[in-house]
Symmetry: C2
Subunit: 251 residues, 2 copies
DNA sequence: CGTCCAGTTGAGGCAGATCAAGCGCGGTGG
DNA sequence: CCACCGCGCTTGATCTGCCTCAACTGGACG
């Protein structure tokens, strides 16, 4: 490496996996220093991506995974009548691009919600490294498994939950993910618009807005434009599990 | 191989990957004879599973993937209020159990819809074999990628489609999967109840029943109990307006 | 200080849920 | 052989949560 050169600019330093604060959430988790360096050498750092710009697009060849380094992305598919369905919002440390594993073409599109950056890791490199580093293979499996489980949670949300439950679930999910990133689980900025929240949760923008207002009246949250303050997380939690209490006692 | 022994009973023959008619849909796809044998040695064949019995259960340790050999399974998660959300129906040749990749515990439950059987492949074996057989690693990635894409299609369905579109999509999807299995794409038995169809599609049993009736009046299908006859696939397609570009799993 | 646009609020409508009754087939037993 | 039951499914009537349409608000920005 370039340890011999003491005069390295901050940018170069910041972009190595070794010094990345996200390594415990990302692919490097569980690797030792030597292994990390091997991985590091295969990772391509991409230039900052402006809001609305694509990281990858539906129908385009895809031979890499991407780790969100900063900012936030959304992935979405186009429905038959042309309008989009958002599949997920992706925060730093999260990997996206699994949709290209099947046939090396992307089946969804990823665009930046705010100015963002990402690391690109070619699939070929991942595969060959996995053969050398059992820890990496293990971590890959964990990440893929989590991806599948997250999607399944969304199916439950869309298939069974009321609008109110969806919003409460959404806030609690974001809260936990910000906490995992050493950020406040109580106060954060939404990187996405109301429109995008509604789309993601299978609702309309009006319904989302009304429930934001309702939650504020109930002192559960404060929302000011995109700044959210969760004031009563326990109550939000009980909202998600509320309905079984009401339904199961009449006998 | 055991070609030297001419006296082998049919059961033994039938259960090897070499002779399994599903191998082109399943894990063995793309492996040569020698490689196939290696895989074959690691696969455990499970006894037949009766309708309603579990292949694996939510919260239980999971250290294997399972390939459906015959019959059909459903996987489901319990929502916070206790009722189930069906995540998928699984036909012969399909792999299930990816929900345990994240932490070696299952996050959903798999039960047989009819008398079924499955092959168990321990994850450890898959991983070590993947290091020896690039073809297997490649096929694993393909299957995982397809799994992710299928889940994403379901998110679009639940987030955006009308009840009618959901049912049409459901029929077309089953039709294609039966065709892939060299069965009639026009006439087949549903392995699941109306209730399970409704649950899977985020609808009620009454709505499903009404749309079945409507489709019959429109001469799109014939349904008699669980026997379905698709009479006008093109019209069903136009109901969904779905471009089936992505499902060509023969890639 | 007007325009724009994201978001909010209100009124009314509708797709699908809920509630309730009926149907038909397979199984049981008489 | 029919009478009866149970259960999966169908059908009808009514209800409702969320959508749709439409008007309004307030901060950002030229």
């Amino acid at each position: 490496m370039n340890n011999h050169s003491k005069v390295i600019d901050i940018k170069t330093l910041k972009v190595s996996c070794t010094d990345c604060s996200l390594s415990e959430l990302c692919l490097p988790r569980g690797l030792n220093e030597g292994e990390l360096e091997k991985l590091d050498n295969r990772v391509l750092r991409k230039k900052p991506i402006q809001p609305g710009d694509q990281l990858f697009g539906n129908g385009l060849p895809g031979k890499s995974l991407y780790a969100v380094r900063s900012g936030a992305f959304k992935t979405y598919e186009l429905s038959t009548n042309g309008d989009e369905q958002i599949l997920g919002f992706h925060l730093p440390g999260e990997l996206i691009g699994f949709d290209a594993l099947a046939d090396n073409y992307h089946h969804c599109t990823a665009t930046a919600l705010v100015t963002s950056s990402a690391c690109e890791i070619p699939l070929e490199q991942i595969q060959s490294l996995c053969n050398q580093l059992p820890g990496l293979q293990h971590q890959m499996m964990r990440i893929i498994g989590k991806e599948v489980n997250v999607d399944h949670e969304m199916l439950v949300l869309l298939g069974k939950k009321s609008a109110e439950e969806r919003l409460a679930t959404f806030f609690l999910n974001l809260s936990r993910r910000y906490q995992d990133r050493k950020l406040s689980p109580y106060e954060f900025n939404l990187p996405m618009s109301r429109m995008e929240i509604a789309n993601y949760l299978g609702l309309t923008i009006e319904t989302v807005s009304r429930i934001f207002t309702r939650f504020q009246k109930q002192k559960l949250i404060d929302v000011n434009r995109r700044l959210v303050h969760l004031k009563n997380i326990d109550e939000l939690r009980s909202l998600v599990m509320e309905d079984e209490i009401n339904r199961s006692d009449v006998s």
